[in-house]
């Protein structure tokens, strides 16, 4: 397949404009770490490969902002800013596989730090995007506080490559914590929810509160701050049966969390959102269902946010699809497939959200000829027929 491989925003705009007639259907790719997200994209006439669109455009450590080309892997950005004691407060599992910043924005991905810092939606302060006709458009800027104009970055958050190409991203940075300690508390989903709630309301300001299932059920509490401050807070957190982890142990635990989100060949990985207090019951139901179907599940839940990532392994493909259908029944539009190897059908999405008309209208205005990412949203976007 033809690949457009621009290395500048201008080249990108030109390539997209020039191929309108010859290559009407385009598939935007970064490092390919989210190939399994959503429904399968339909065959395209060309790919828009963003991996040549890399590098830091402007880094201002004192302002704690960095502008990068969207094909830059997050891991590289982290390396650059770490030298100045800073970080992008985002830890999605795919970062370890060199996921690009643009790809992470388009997938709305995040990791355990979502508990304290949200997702890229909350960290992006400016973007440049290229639309289906090659138009290059900026929104936001280089300052953290800015309400001038509409925030187009939000639209692209979760767009899965169906609106346009994210070409440049300006990020807000945070100080890298001087000290980090993880405490592990053995806990059922229900108990984990109670402990997490208690910790949130006690004002201990945990950076992450991740409940994990498989093999053991446990709550991971990550505290970040100054060395003395963290030591003090660890004492507050440590209850009966809690273990303060060594750096190696902590690293192992957090790698396991990441592994849940990535999955293995043959697995299905699903992320869904629910009211935080509804988490334990929802997770209990999934585990019971998986047991019945002979499936294995590994779970990682950002408890205060109510965001759950479920890796399904083993068993029959039909059973994977049943489990997904059950999730759709309960959590409707708020279920995203992150890996679909295990699925029996290609359908990935549940019933569309109530705002689907707005989503379709946005798609129609931004990409009227459906050049980008046809199929990713399945029946949600009627992009095979073209939109009216």
């Amino acid at each position: 397949m033809t690949a457009l491989c621009p290395s500048t925003v201008d080249e990108l705009g030109a390539a997209i404009a020039e191929t309108a007639a010859t290559h009407p259907r385009l598939l935007i790719t970064g490092n390919g770490t989210a190939e399994g997200w959503g429904a399968p994209a339909r065959p395209a006439d060309a790919t828009v490969d963003t991996t040549g669109l890399t590098g830091v455009i402007r880094y201002s450590p004192a302002d704690m902002t960095i502008a990068v080309r969207a094909g830059t892997p997050l891991a590289i950005v982290q390396q650059v800013v770490r030298e100045h004691g800073q970080r992008v407060a985002l830890d999605p599992a795919r970062a370890a596989q060199d996921a690009t910043v643009g790809g992470l924005l388009a997938t709305a991905d995040a990791g355990p730090l979502r508990t304290s810092h949200g997702s890229l939606r909350d960290l992006v302060i400016g973007t440049t995007v290229v639309l289906a006709d090659g138009t290059t458009a900026r929104s936001g800027g280089h300052v953290i506080k800015n309400v001038a104009g509409y925030d187009l970055a939000k639209l692209f958050h979760g767009s899965l490559g169906t609106l346009g190409v994210v070409a440049e991203v300006v990020l807000r940075l945070h100080p890298a914590p001087r000290a980090v300690t993880t405490v592990r508390v053995p806990a059922s989903a229900e108990h984990g929810f109670q402990v997490a709630t208690h910790l949130v309301t006690s004002g201990v300001e945990a950076a992450a509160l991740e409940w994990c299932a498989g093999p053991d059920d446990r709550l991971l509490v990550r505290l970040e701050g100054t060395p003395d401050g963290v030591a003090d807070r660890v004492r507050e957190v440590s209850a009966d049966g809690a273990t303060v982890l060594t750096d190696d142990e902590a690293c192992e635990e957090w790698s396991a969390v990441a592994a849940t989100a990535v999955g293995e060949p043959g697995d299905t990985v699903v992320r869904f959102g629910a009211l935080p207090a509804a988490g334990p019951a929802a997770l209990g139901k999934i585990r019971a269902f998986a047991d019945d179907l002979g499936l294995g599940v590994t779970i990682s839940s950002s408890v205060p946010a109510g965001v759950h990532t479920v890796r399904v392994h083993g068993g029959a493909a039909r059973a994977h699809s049943h489990l997904l259908a059950a999730l759709h029944d309960d959590h409707h539009a708020n279920v995203t497939v992150l890996r679909r190897d295990g699925l029996h059908t290609s359908s990935a999405w549940g019933p569309p959200p109530s705002a689907i008309r707005v989503m379709r209208a946005v798609k129609h205005r931004f990409d009227p000829t459906c050049r980008f990412g046809a199929g990713r949203f399945d029946g949600w976007l009627d992009d095979e027929k073209g939109l009216s």
């Binding site: 450590p61 138009t135 506080k145 309400v147 201990v204 401050g229 539009a333 708020n334 129609h364």
Partner: protein, 482 residues
């Protein structure tokens, strides 16, 4: 507007929900940017979300432009009516539907004031983080539209970071829920795009906000500096040390003088700059970092540090800071509040250039600002009676555009509205603006939802921009300005 349409509004909403009396309509002719005034054809006061949808459906069918209105404290003319259009006031949708302490959220109607949300949450040890100085009066609907900030947004972010979902009436009169029970949802972040859209994409009728637990510890200090530049450097060094203050606010000598004259908030009169730094969080972290902040202020030449010893003293520090605009208003017959942003490291440059611009214009400018995020609020002092209005407007516009030239933004929190729509081409290219217009058209095909705001239009940009006069609520001493 025909009598038939008016009758239809009356039939749908009830006679007491439709204002047509010219005297009553006058109360809605402007928002906090009082230099722009337009009397609408009708004001509608629906009581329910369904009635809002009914009203918008009639507008859509008849192509009648409508403007949503909360408390009318906006400072950019966002709620300015459209002639021959209707104003849909959300003032009667004021119930707090639910406070859910377990999930730490509240479900409210759009006319609920910002402060009432925190009041309702307080018994559970929770609060709503965005804290604009107008919080006693401004509504959550207005906060969403403007993506309002507050003194504490350096650490806690803006309204967009604290809203989970909103029921909205779209400009065609249909309804949709944007957002969900958790931040994870399938599809585009339509809620994120709606927040900060200045009432141009629809009307929020029911909003679910996040509530935060009150921080375990709070410590506040005021450090005096011999120059605003040194104070700015101190802020930069605090942030470079990896500290994220809850707030870092600055006042220059003119503002301090005015505040001390208006109310004695304990600020030193003989200093060039006062820097307020507030830290909050777990006690241990706050204590350690507070000591570091003191040291850093000392390294940058502070001449005096006043630490708020208790909650009363802390409240006084903030009272002084929040009264700064009104206080400056007292030492000048008229003034314009500007709201621009520069990269924080260029604060000193920006302030020097503003000083030069002011000197060239022969006018005084006082600077009160959110130092942590480079959000400047220069107050341009002038006397309309002395014929200085035009010069003041020009100076104010020059300051906003200077912010853009320094790599910043036309607005940090007050919005573009009517006021700055014509300056938008300074910050954004034609393609940028045309792309923003695509988003607007996706929500509002017919262009009836708060037309003329945010994006420049030839009609508007031919007209003369307006000027600040004290908001009626401010004049009455009900609210203060930051």
């Amino acid at each position: 507007m025909t009598g038939d349409v008016r009758a239809e509004f009356v039939a749908a909403l009830g006679a007491d929900a439709v204002l047509a009396d010219p005297v009553e309509l006058r109360a809605y002719e402007c928002d906090g940017l009082t230099g722009f005034r337009v009397v609408p054809a009708l004001v509608l006061l629906p009581r329910t979300a369904a009635a809002v949808a009914d009203a918008v459906r009639i507008c859509a069918r008849e192509r009648i432009p409508f403007v949503a209105r909360g408390a009318g404290t906006g400072l950019s003319g966002g709620a300015l009516p459209v002639a021959n259009g209707v104003v849909i006031s959300l003032q009667r949708l004021r119930s707090i539907i639910e406070v859910d302490p377990v999930n730490r959220r509240a479900v409210v109607e759009p006319g609920v004031t910002n402060l009432d949300i925190s009041r309702a949450a307080a018994p559970h040890g929770l609060y709503f983080a965005p804290d604009p100085s107008s919080q006693q009066v401004c509504t959550i609907g207005g906060n969403i539209a403007e993506n309002s900030g507050g003194a504490h947004c350096l650490k806690y972010g803006f309204t967009v970071h604290h809203v989970l979902s909103a029921d909205v009436v779209l400009p065609d009169g249909t309804t949709a829920v944007l957002g969900a029970d958790s931040p994870h949802l399938g599809g585009y972040d339509l809620l994120g795009a709606f927040i900060g859209s200045e009432g141009t994409l629809g009307i929020a009728t029911r909003i679910t906000v996040k509530l935060l637990p009150k921080p375990a510890a709070v410590r506040t200090l005021v450090a005096d500096f011999p120059s605003v530049e040194q104070a700015g450097d101190a802020v930069t060094s605090i942030i470079a040390a990896g500290i994220v203050p809850a707030a870092a606010e600055m006042m220059d000598a003119v503002a301090i003088e005015a505040v001390q004259a208006a109310l004695d908030a304990g600020y030193s009169r003989d200093t060039a700059a006062a820097l307020i730094v507030e830290l909050d969080g777990p006690q241990a972290e706050v204590d350690i970092q507070f000591a570091e902040v003191r040291q850093l202020c000392q390294n940058h030449g502070t001449t005096n540090i006043r630490v708020a010893g208790d909650e009363h003293e802390r409240a006084l520090v903030w009272k002084g800071r929040k009264a700064a605009f009104a206080a400056v208003g007292r030492i000048s017959p008229d003034y314009i509040v500007q709201d621009g942003v520069v990269p924080r490291t260029l604060l000193a440059t920006a302030l020097t250039r503003i000083g030069e611009l002011a000197a060239a214009a022969g006018l005084r400018v006082s600077n009160v600002f959110h130092a942590g995020d480079g959000n400047l609020h220069p107050l341009v002092l002038y006397s309309e009676a002395a014929g200085e209005l035009e010069r003041a407007e020009e100076l104010s516009r020059a300051i906003a555009e200077l912010c853009v030239d320094l790599g910043g933004s036309l607005s940090g929190e007050h919005g573009i509205g009517t006021d700055k729509a014509c300056s938008m081409p300074r910050q954004f290219s034609e393609d940028d603006l045309a792309t923003m217009a695509l988003l607007r058209a996706a929500y509002d095909t017919d262009g009836i939802c708060n037309p003329g705001k945010v994006l420049p239009t030839p009609r508007l940009c031919g007209e003369k921009p307006g000027v600040h006069r004290p908001h009626p609520l401010e004049a009455a001493g009900l609210i203060e300005r930051t």
